[in-house]
């Protein structure tokens, strides 16, 4: 079975609140950059599918040279092969542009059965690359997947979490699967893995290596453009501390206040 895991390099979640608007606008984000935390689950699921069904796992990302570190993180966890998709022409791509680049790279890589991705990135938050990729590849789309039940007979069966409950769904291959946090517990990079990753020669594919027209990717092709990036207004509230003689009286006073606010 051929598995491709699409990942992104993002700021470390813990440092997201520190990022300034200027850093994002200039593209020079100074926080620690990591493998997108949601993608750790996709990498792990790729490795588990390989254990269960055999085959190859390739990890790919679109980004600048520094994004190689995200690929090395995946190698350090056990992925055998990686490709960096990098070209100045890719800069500023929206989700559809990114999906176009990834789809072309996946086709070039060879036949694929399952494409995995995290449910979204912790910076862009759109969750659009997986659906875009499914359409560009002509693959089925399975999002928010919490369990891959089976892959057999040209079909994949998964469980996914929806607002009203848990759905079990079977779709034909190839499939693009975006995974939720509940799907697994990602393994950590091992010492041997880190050594292997540090020595890995990761191929770089540029626009010229892919069957992609320059006009379909990059900033100029972006159909949804971010403007007026800003920090949300800080919540301005002065806390009213409720303290009465007994806990019961405190509860009664708080209930009075909340009922007066008409939120109950």
């Amino acid at each position: 079975m051929n598995i491709v895991v699409c990942v992104k390099q993002t700021p470390d979640t813990a440092e997201l609140p520190k990022i300034s608007v200027a850093e994002v606008t200039s593209g020079d984000i100074k926080t620690t950059l990591v493998l997108n935390p949601w993608d750790e689950f996709a990498v792990e699921e790729g490795l588990q599918l390989q254990d269960r069904f055999g085959g190859d796992v390739t990890v790919v990302t679109v980004g600048e040279e520094k994004a190689t570190e995200a690929l090395k993180d995946a190698i350090a966890r056990g992925v055998q092969s990686a490709v960096l998709l990098s070209d100045p022409a890719f800069a500023g791509s929206d989700a559809w542009g990114t999906a176009t680049i990834l789809a072309a790279a996946i086709k070039k890589n060879g036949p694929v059965d399952v494409v995995l991705a995290g449910k979204q990135s912790v910076d862009g938050n759109s969750g659009l690359v997986a659906p875009g990729l499914a359409r560009k590849l002509g693959a089925t789309l399975l999002t928010n997947v919490t369990k891959i039940v089976d892959v057999a007979g040209g079909k994949i069966t998964v469980e996914r979490q929806l607002e009203e409950g848990r759905e079990t769904l079977t779709a034909s291959l190839p499939a693009v699967v975006s995974v939720s946090k509940e799907i697994n517990d990602p393994r950590y990079p091992t010492f041997m893995g880190i050594r292997k990753a540090s020595k890995a020669q990761i191929p770089v594919w540029s626009l010229a290596d892919l069957d992609v027209s320059a006009g379909s990717v990059g900033q100029t092709a972006a159909l949804a453009q971010w403007t007026d990036l800003r920090k949300p207004a800080a919540r301005s509230s002065q806390v009213v501390l409720v303290k009465e003689a007994t806990v019961e009286a405190t509860a009664a006073k708080l209930a009075d206040l909340l009922m007066a606010e008409k939120v109950i």
Binding site: P11, T13, A14, L16, I19, V21, V24, A95, W96, A99, V122, N125, S126, L128, P131, G132, A134, R135, K136, T140, L141, L142, T143, N144, R160, Q161, E163, E164, G165, R166, E167, A171, S180, K181, E182, L223, A224, Q225, W226, T227, D228, L229, R230, P232, R235, S237, V239, L241, V242, K243, V247, T250, A251, L254, A255, L258, M259, E261, V263, I264
Partner: protein
């Protein structure tokens, strides 16, 4: 047609956010100088289409077929794309539920339209739709501007008020499936509904959440949190610390890497208020903090606070509301 709104229904019940989006779209369509259309897809869902009329849709496209009885992405997308091609709206809006986000993505990608996902506000500027969306996991906002003739957006629950149901002047236009049943590449094998009565976090008007403060007896702590939520008809949430400690399943997690919520009332029990948690609930109308530590950052964003042990305060509050409600 200026705006088309996808009305999500499950087992014949529309999701509340569908009406919130439709209500907002009514005023946006007015500003854009065009008609407001809605699309309801399913089988035996005429009641939902009628409801859409009462919320002000000028036209409701009611698309019914046995093959559309349950949501499946490809046949549903084919229906919406067909309507867009036939009527050329300037914008298509979806509720940002799991299915709504999937559907908006497939439709926008297929039609070569820009998409703003999981938005918290919409406006019309110079006759064009703009959309505000949180990015960097709630730590920043951006206003998305669209290039091209069609704009697509999905909108978070509780971004807009539920509109008044006062009109029914529009018309229902019926049609059937666009994709042949035999071409559908996915099938639903089974569906296990969430335990009866459980309120969805993103739709909840009231949320009671528990955090690390339950540590001395997590099972009892979350039972007390749930009892308070139940007494108020609300949903139960949790901080990441509580989820990571294994006290409660991930689906309850509120915050940067969990759900973003916007209830009228958010009661944080034993939650310190890490910035990552605030990113997920900072837009709640009223925040109540119950925490032993008077220095906990949660008190800086709370409207009301009780410095005390949640194991004492929460049951006292539950008892009080049981008396009153």
């Amino acid at each position: 047609m200026s705006i088309l709104v996808y009305i999500e229904q499950f087992n014949g019940q529309a999701s509340p956010v569908s009406w919130e989006v439709l209500g907002k779209a009514k005023s946006l369509a007015g500003q854009m100088g065009g008609k407001l259309a809605a699309v309801v897809i399913g089988n035996g869902v005429e009641a939902v289409a009628n409801e859409a009329l009462t919320y002000g849709a000028d036209v409701v496209h009611l698309v019914e077929d046995a093959s559309l009885a349950a949501f499946r992405i490809e046949p549903y997308a084919a229906v919406v794309e067909d309507l867009v091609k036939a009527h050329s709206p300037k914008a298509v809006l979806f509720p940002a539920t799991t299915r709504g986000r999937d559907l908006s993505a497939v439709v926008a990608c297929d039609l070569g339209a820009g998409l703003a996902a999981d938005c918290s506000d919409l406006a019309v500027d110079g006759g064009e739709l703009t959309a505000v969306r949180p990015v960097f996991s709630g730590n920043m906002l951006t206003t998305v501007r669209f290039v091209g003739p069609l704009a697509v957006a999905s909108i978070r629950p509780r971004s807009f008020p539920t509109p008044e149901a006062d009109g029914a002047a529009g018309e229902i236009v019926r049609s059937g499936a666009v994709m042949a049943a035999g071409d559908i590449r996915e099938q639903i094998d089974s569906f296990e509904a969430t335990a009866g009565g459980e309120v969805s976090l993103t739709d909840a008007k009231i949320i009671v959440s528990g955090g690390r403060g339950v540590a001395k007896d997590p099972e009892l702590g979350f039972k007390l949190v749930k009892d308070l939520a139940d007494s108020l008809g609300g949903a139960m949430g949790a901080s990441r610390a509580a989820v990571d400690a294994g006290y409660i399943p991930y689906k309850h997690q509120v915050g940067q890497t969990g759900k973003t919520v916007r209830p009228d009332l958010y009661i944080a029990c034993g939650i310190s208020g890490a910035i990552q948690h605030l990113a997920g609930m900072g837009n709640s109308k009223i925040i109540v903090a119950i925490n032993k530590d008077p220095e906990a950052p949660i008190f800086q964003v709370a409207n009301y606070g009780v410095v005390g042990d949640l194991f004492e305060v929460v049951p006292a509050l539950t008892a009080e509301f049981k008396k009153r409600l």
